[in-house]
Each structure stands twice: as structure tokens, then as C-alpha cells.
Subunit: 197 residues, 2 copies
């Protein structure tokens, strides 16, 4: 079946995150029924990103230039580095529009189970960057066991730089969150970290 170009396309589409055989077929048909308006531009975009987009050698962000736009920007604060697991987290933080420092994308978390050690993450680059005038490192890792273990490891390693202030994202009730539906851990943290209004 994989010799058939159409079945091959459906198979590849079905393997994309969040898609399955049904949505793969649907998208393949959509594209084939709109060769000019949908298939050609997407095909061109694929070749375009394949050639142009690369990991920023400084921070690990994906961009058409390296160093990336954020690393290259003179208007962003070089004294703050926000450490994230993945490029998607960087994008999520950028959408908030409230952070004007630089980023560092680890490319994953430490995981004994999956056999990922410190050498598998973009850690050497991070420590090298901290040498040069960084005042704050913000640990914006996921609030998962592995994310927190990784944050702990980095914090330990950064204790060699006492002049660097290490912070982490606030924990608490999310916007629109109902207390009754919140897990106990989050509610407990929110109560302990209560603020004066």
C-alpha cells in the first residue's frame, strides 16, 4: 500500500500529533481537492522551513536566522534568561507579551526512566551564558515531576553563581479556575503563597 502516493500521504499525515487515520484521510482529500489553493502553498512552506528554519545556536529556539530574532534583538534584556523545556513553551511565554529578557530552550527534561541525562539537554550552553552578566534565571519548566527535577538540578548547578537570582513561575489558582475542581496540591500552594490584596 505504501507505494500508492495517496495512501502514503494519508499514512504520514495520520502519524502527526493529534491526528489519526480519519483526520489524515480528511486532510489528504482536502489538499487534493484544492491542489492550487492548499496543496501547493503547504508543499512550498514545507520545503521552505526544511531549508531555512534551524535551531538557534545560542538559545535553541527555532527561527530562520541563527542567532534567532530574540537572541539578536538589542531591545531585549540580556540580564534575564528564562529557561524552558521546549520551543512551544517559549512561544507560549512570548504570547503573554510580558517578558522582555532572553530564553534558553533545554530540549527536554532529565529523565532516568527514558535515559535522558544532563548531557542530552542544552545545559552546557546555559551555564556558559550565565557566566556573562546574567542577573536572573527564571525556571519556567513544566510543573511535572520531571520538569521540577530538572529545575532542581539546574538550580543546584547554578549555586556556583551566587550573584545570579534564580526564580520560578508562581503557582496558584489559574484564571477562571474553580476551587472545587482544583487539585489539592495546587490549592495548598495557592493558600500558602497567599498575597495581600
Amino acid at each position: 500500500m505504501t507505494q500508492d502516493p495517496l495512501q502514503n500521504l494519508i499514512r504520514l499525515l495520520s502519524k502527526l500529533p493529534g491526528l489519526g487515520p480519519r483526520s489524515g484521510r480528511r486532510i489528504a482529500l482536502h489538499l487534493l481537492e484544492r491542489k492550487e489553493e492548499a496543496l501547493s502553498p503547504l508543499s512550498a512552506a514545507f520545503q521552505d522551513v526544511a531549508v531555512k528554519v534551524k535551531s538557534c545556536e545560542t538559545c535553541g529556539n527555532l527561527d530562520a536566522i541563527s542567532p534567532c530574532q530574540i537572541c539578536a534583538s538589542p531591545s531585549r534584556d540580556v540580564t534575564q534568561i528564562c529557561v524552558v523545556e521546549a520551543v512551544s513553551d517559549l512561544w507560549a511565554l512570548e504570547r503573554t507579551g510580558v517578558f522582555f529578557g532572553k530564553y534558553h530552550v533545554l530540549g527536554g527534561t532529565l529523565s532516568a526512566m527514558d535515559g535522558r541525562g544532563p548531557e542530552d539537554l542544552r545545559l552546557k550552553g546555559l551555564f556558559a551564558r550565565v557566566h556573562s552578566g546574567v542577573q536572573e534565571v527564571i525556571m519556567a519548566l513544566n510543573a511535572t515531576v520531571e520538569g521540577q527535577a530538572t529545575a532542581h538540578y539546574i538550580t543546584e548547578r547554578l549555586s556556583d553563581f551566587p550573584e545570579v537570582h534564580i526564580t520560578t513561575l508562581a503557582r496558584g489558582v489559574p484564571i477562571g479556575g474553580e476551587l472545587d475542581y482544583l487539585d489539592d496540591g495546587t490549592l495548598m500552594t495557592a493558600l500558602q503563597s497567599r498575597r495581600t490584596v
Copy 2:
């Protein structure tokens, strides 16, 4: 933003059926993080289908050859034509594995609202095919108002061929369907079309 190859890819992916900005970003990142394993094969598959896959000149199916594999197959019954709205419907019927005749894909339905008349569908080809020894035309159109109006129109036109038997898909309770949750129309039809067990 559209000059940026990455933003352009995300924009195009987000417009695919069933996807949005979030899934578009997720798929773009997935592809860029796996250039060799995911991006290249998919990009090649896109170019492959763009060049090779075309509408079958006989039935309107999509295939790498025209006439398509079904039209070209000597083992399929030329006396039966199953009329469907879209290629996805043809695929759905093929997956059942119980139909061994030929197909005819209309490419839509008649729709006064959307301004689609008989000349916008693959009807001329259908009537031309019915001339040549066809014994049964199965109306496998969607059970929507437009699908049924289209089926009605075709049935009318085919009354010029009294030797052709025109049938339609059975209506009734779907497998696993609970009577309590079924719409009244379906339940009524199922009751009226009841069968001896």
C-alpha cells in the same frame, strides 16, 4: 508575519480541516524537531501526490492512475454503479468490503443556496455511463436535505432508462444505536421498514 517561513507554515497548517492555531503550532514544531523522520517524508509525499494523483476521468475517484484502479479492475461488476457525493464516501464504502461494482463521484450536491446546479456536478458522465449496460444505480448520497434533493433529481433523470433499477441505502437504527437517543425520523423509518427476522 507571512514572510517568516515558520509562521507561514503554522498559518497554512492551521487552515486544514479539523486543525486550529494550537494544533498547527504543535504539528509545525513536531515536524521541525524531526526534520529527517517526519518533515522530509511528508514533504516528498506532498510533491508526489501533487504530481501523480488525479481525478479518474470516468468516475471522479482520486488515484495515481486514470481510469482509477476500481474503474480499471476487470473483476468489478460493471452493471452496478454506486453514486456518491465525495471521494471520502467512496472510501468509506470501500472499507466495508461488501460492494464489488463501480462508483461515480458527483463532487458535491445540488444546492440552490450555494448556487450549485446540475452542470456543477459530474452528472453528464454519469448519464453517459448508464447508457452502457448498467443494471443498477445505487444512490449512496448523504441523508441530508441537499443529498436527498440531488438523489431525487438523478432518479428523475434516470427514468428515461426504465431497464435500470435505482436503489438507495437502507435507513434504520445504526449498529450500537440506542433507540432513546435516536432522532424521531430515523426511528419512524426504521419502524416502517421493519423486516422479518
